[in-house]
Amino acid sequence: MAGVDDLAKALESTPGGGIILTSIDAIADWARGYSLWMMPMGTACCAMELIAASFSKFDFDRHGSIPRPDPRHTDVMVVAGTITHKMAPAVKRLWAQMPDPKWCIAMGNCAVSGGIFYYDTYSVVRGVDEFLPVDIYIAGCPPRPESLQDAILRLREKVRAESISPSRVRAVEGVLPLPGDPLRGETADAAPEGSDV
């Protein structure tokens, strides 16, 4: 993303470039939100619902999301299923292979917290957020395909707050209203003075 980074830096340092940057952000975020391609990291039971979500009856392609097996071509990793200590390095590696900007959906209780495998087991990582920055959590054991579609729509809202400029991303992260946050309006108003969120 070096070229895009340079572009963002150049625009930020140019007077008036912020307007262009904001416009580019708007286009980029719109495009990213409507084209969230999935890296199906299905390991266990939830993988079945992940498959079901993109197949005939539920059809993810309606939302512009298609599963691609190659991490290099994807935007959002859907971790569906239990992650064990043996599997974790592979998940981490696949995450590292995905190009920025990338998001992560933890699908199912196992990926959220270890779920039913929280107690008494010696080989399960308790939640994929122990080693990946998770954006959306979906509860359920396993969640229904509709929940996953809902997660994609929520993620789309979250993507709208992204920017191609790293410093802007950092500036908005602290005040980012989470999707579905009841305090949404207030939080946005309470943004610090001078920040162009």
Binding site: M1, A31, R32, Y34, S35, D61, R72, D100
Partner: protein
């Protein structure tokens, strides 16, 4: 001045291929969805036609990953080496009576020669990725594309023999409706060999999703990968246009703009047929692929050439 014109034409060709690819990807997603009892893209624009308008900027703004162990300069420029020859091949397709973007006297040979240069780009990209799966994909692609070049060229040769010219516009002028039944076998051979040439199912071994994950472009991300996809769809469009022109008569069916419309519709039908085949058939294995090429397609093409030659003599 000539240089400027060339630049302009080049840009036009790239825009043509890119635009075609954008529509092609959408169309393929819809066709695949229809075959698979799904709906396909729906949210952006009527029937999701604007879906690709979202996909392209997204890929443009993605991180451009160059793996550490890759041969970096080659890795960076290999996608162009795949895309450029395909964009060039569009130049000799006769769109209009007596008019092709580049009306070369050796246009037919030019068309057959240029898309095959793409195999070089594929090999380069596969090898420079430093990835076993990509390398296997590249090797498969090389073997496949070089082999299928033979029946494809022989099939086109039968039309050249009938027309007695290597210039696409002259071939089109000489075209008669009864060439369709006469060269039907040749057309089928050309069609199948073209599918193999553009690495699409059931001959998509180089990028077989269930075996090699993504084959030779496994390590490409963002827009470089998009260029590969554009190359693939460009090859599909260009092969369909060429086949619709020299085998099916293209614009010759009706005069004027209506002829162009018929030509484009014929090409669209061919494109849809290719997608239909891809989403219906299983994939061949490498040895079966080669056997099919050398023991079925090539003899058929030779027989077609002989028949065409005899008819041409008798004319």
């Amino acid at each position: 001045m000539t240089f400027l014109w060339g630049l302009l034409w080049g840009l036009a060709a790239v825009m043509f291929i890119a635009g075609g690819a954008v529509i092609g990807v959408w169309w393929e997603r819809k066709v695949a969805a229809r075959i698979q009892m799904r709906l396909g893209p729906q949210q952006l624009g009527p029937a999701g036609v604007l879906q690709m308008i979202a996909d392209v900027p997204k890929l443009l703004f993605k991180e451009d990953i160059v793996p550490d162990n890759a041969d970096k300069p080659i890795f960076r420029y290999a996608p162009m080496a795949v895309f450029a020859p395909i964009a060039m091949s569009v130049a000799v397709i006769p769109f209009w009576a007596g008019w092709a973007p580049l009306d070369s006297t050796v246009g037919m040979v030019f068309y057959l020669a240029f898309p095959s240069i793409g195999v070089l780009g594929i090999l380069l990209s596969a090898w420079s990725s430093h990835n076993t799966l990509a390398t296997i994909g590249g090797m498969r692609a090389a073997a496949q594309m070089v082999s299928y070049e033979v029946p494809r060229s022989l099939a086109v040769l039968s039309v050249i023999v009938l027309a007695g010219s290597l210039q696409p516009t002259e071939v089109m002028d000489a075209w008669q409706w009864w060439w369709i039944p006469l060269t039907f076998v040749g057309f089928v051979v050309y069609f199948i060999a073209s599918i193999a040439e553009m690495n699409r199912g059931p001959f998509d071994l180089p990028e077989a999703e269930s075996e090699l994950v993504a084959g030779y472009f496994s390590d490409y991300s963002g827009f470089r990968w998009a260029i590969f996809m554009m190359g693939e769809y460009g090859a599909l469009i260009s092969a369909s246009l060429f086949g619709a022109a020299v085998f099916l008569g293209g614009y010759r069916w009706l005069p004027g703009v209506a002829g162009l419309a018929v030509f484009l519709v014929l090409a669209m039908v061919l494109i849809t047929a290719v997608m239909w085949i891809k989403w219906t058939f299983p994939r061949l294995r490498q040895d079966q692929l080669m056997t099919f090429c050398w023991t079925v397609l090539t003899p058929l093409a030779i027989v077609q050439l002989v028949v065409a030659g005899v008819v041409a003599l008798w004319l």
